[in-house]
Amino acid sequence: NAGVTQTPKFRILKIGQSMTLQCTQDMNHNYMYWYRQDPGMGLKLIYYSVGAGITDKGEVPNGYNVSRSTTEDFPLRLELAAPSQTSVYFCASKGPEDTQYFGPGTRLTVL
C-alpha cells in the first residue's frame, strides 16, 4: 500500500512549455485533489474530483487542467507555463472521516 504517489519530484520548465504532473493513489478513494503551496503559505485548492469522469475547479484553477479517467489516477496539466506557477504541488485523496492523505509533492520552477 503506497498511498498517494506523485511524479516527478522536481521539474524546471521554461516559460510557455507544458507538462503533466502525475498522481496515483492505491486506496480506492473516490475524492482526489490538487493543491499548490507557495512559499510561507498554506495550501490552495486547484482542482478536485469526486470520482472517475467528474472534475471541478477549486480556488485557483487558471492555467491548469485535469482529467480523471480512472479511480487511481488524477493528472494535472500545465499549459503555457508561467513564472507565477512556480510552486510546490501536492496531490491528495480523501479517506474515511474527511481525512485527506497527501503525496510527497512536486517542486516546479518556471524560468
Binding site: 503559505m41 498554506g42 495550501l43 474527511d98 481525512t99
Partner: protein
C-alpha cells in the same frame, strides 16, 4: 465565512520543554479539524484529527489537541519537545456542508524550531 488563524508564525522551544501551537477557527457549523506536519522538503503528514467525538484528541509522536467550541480553538500541544519535531505545522478545518467535496481550509502555518 470559514477561516483558520494560526496565532504564531514561528515558535521556538528548547528540547525537553512543552510545545504549544495555537489555532483558532471560524465555522458556521461544527467542523472537522486537523493538524498536519510538514518536514522540510516533504509532504504533509496527518498528526491528529477531531471529527465530533472526544474533544481531547491524541495523535502521533506524543502530540495532542483539545477542541474547545466555546473558544473556537484547537491548540496543539506536546509535553516535551524533541529535535525531530522541528517542522512546519498546519491547522486545517473542514467545514460541514462544504459543497460536497470536503473543502479544506488551511492556516498559514507555524514553524516550530527546537533548540538543544
Amino acid at each position: 465565512a470559514q477561516s483558520v488563524t494560526q496565532l504564531d508564525s514561528h515558535v521556538s522551544v528548547s528540547e525537553g520543554t512543552p510545545v504549544l501551537l495555537r489555532c483558532n477557527y471560524s465555522s458556521s457549523y461544527s467542523p472537522s479539524l486537523f493538524w498536519y506536519v510538514q518536514h522540510p522538503n516533504k509532504g504533509l503528514q496527518l498528526l491528529l484529527k477531531y471529527t465530533s467525538a472526544a474533544t481531547l484528541v491524541k495523535g502521533i509522536n506524543g502530540f495532542e489537541a483539545e477542541f474547545k467550541k466555546s473558544e473556537t480553538s484547537f491548540h496543539l500541544t506536546k509535553p516535551s519537545a524533541h529535535m525531530s519535531d522541528a517542522a512546519e505545522y498546519f491547522c486545517v478545518v473542514s467545514p460541514k456542508f462544504s459543497g460536497g467535496y470536503n473543502k479544506l481550509i488551511f492556516g498559514a502555518g507555524t514553524r516550530l524550531a527546537v533548540h538543544p
